[in-house]
Symmetry: C2
Subunit: 262 residues, 2 copies
């Protein structure tokens, strides 16, 4: 099987034009199969504020009411997605921007929760692997905005990390999938205040040890648990690191690689 890099780029990177440009130049230059999933950054929050749309947060999660759905659709699937596509085309990468509604790429359902109504938030049901495979075989690089649809005409706001993981999982029967989370940290740190304390490799055994000795930042634990779940689902490796280090992340020369281990 051929390798496929499924790369999520975080909101902090989107917000910094110089970092984003460098990241996109590096991404455009990457050979082989690749898919980019982008987050939203501060732009949607800023636009909602400018329009006087009040943002409700419950447990750190944004409630997506009807007006907020319009804002995220405009910002994620419109402005950010097409800006990225135009820049990649300039870098000679045949990019095509999509959201989950396009070609029924990612179908979701409105989140069901007994106590909190998250509004127009989607949890992923299906990924159209044959469409994605077809695009890859034609040399097209898909740029995915974190918006899905329910198949009944409604768009839904969906977490970009989850979308990256679901796409990676769906493609793993056909490719050796490398799932990369690129953001503003150099990887998983032993000491959260020391960027040089990156742990190069984590497998299940070392993860249990890190957890039991409290050597890992609490906020990192669910991310790593998700990563191991991804490995159980057939994904080859999960990599975490700085967007600025993309070429090194791809080669395994920077960031943290999470592997199954023995």
């Amino acid at each position: 099987m051929e390798p496929l890099f499924v790369i999520k780029v975080g909101g902090n990177v989107i917000d910094d034009a110089a970092v984003l440009d460098q990241f996109l130049a590096d991404f455009a230059a990457m050979k082989g199969n690749k898919i980019l999933i982008h987050g939203g950054g501060k732009l949607a929050t800023d636009l909602a504020a400018q329009l006087g749309i009040e943002q409700q947060m419950v447990d750190g999660r944004r409630i997506t009411d009807k007006e907020t759905l319009k804002v995220v659709t405009m910002v994620y699937a419109g402005l950010i997605n097409k800006t990225i596509v135009a820049k990649l085309q300039a870098g000679h990468c045949t990019a095509m921007g999509i959201c989950g509604a396009d070609n029924n790429a990612i179908q979701a359902h409105k989140r069901i929760n007994a106590t909190i109504d998250y509004g127009f938030v989607g949890d992923v049901d299906t990924v159209n692997a044959s469409f994605i495979d077809g695009a890859l075989k034609q040399g097209t690089t898909l740029i995915v905005a974190p918006i899905t649809h329910d198949g009944k005409g409604t768009l839904l706001n969906t977490n970009a990390d989850t979308m990256a993981q679901e796409i990676a999982k769906a493609m793993s029967p056909y490719y050796k999938v490398q799932l990369v989370f690129s953001f503003d940290k150099p990887g998983v740190l032993l000491d959260k205040d020391d960027n040089s304390s990156v742990i190069p490799t984590i497998d299940k055994a070392s993860f249990e040890q890190l957890k039991s000795t409290n050597k890992i930042v609490a906020g990192m634990i669910p991310k790593l648990e998700n990563a191991f779940k991804a490995l159980d689902q057939g994904i080859e490796t999960v990599r975490l690191g700085r967007a600025q280090d993309l070429p090194k992340l791809i080669k395994g020369d920077a960031g943290t690689i999470i592997v199954h281990g023995k």
Copy 2:
């Protein structure tokens, strides 16, 4: 050659949710090869006003400054495009929303004008016919937002009528192209105040006669001249009529059909 319907739907239709829904249901039900190009409607103007972005008009044309470009990219390529795609998917039409930057579908250059700087307005240079043909052959219906790019990383605001005509022209070596302009009028009228005065067919000879006898609304003349130019470029017919009449327009049972004639 197989027939291909290249359909432009106007801004007034986009602005009316009930009319748009009916139009999309009819469009989804159409058999065969089809492409939809949509205009912008009032949404972009409204959003710009809400954001306090002043809209400059020169000779009835909007000047697209940097902030306005962001607004039209959000509204056209984001909100309108993805709303249409989600609704078509619900109608079992395999729709994929694109702008000109996606897969380098439509490349343009920033308009050059000695006296007026239109800002980020694009005039079309090339249409990627092989990409569009590939999508059609896979049964994908492209939904095109009126945004292009210059190949150097910059998005450009482009007239949707022009985009429809350029796509129709580019596809005419491979398909029998029927170019349809669907809007809020029943066709070309003999009497602008009488919607029952639709002229069913216009060819070059009858157009010259209508012009010389002043029997045609002045505003319609450039549209018709463009239509005849389209026919000279290999497009089979140009049809104009109401979005509500789409099924009849397709069959030739409503609206005005413009043909080359003898």
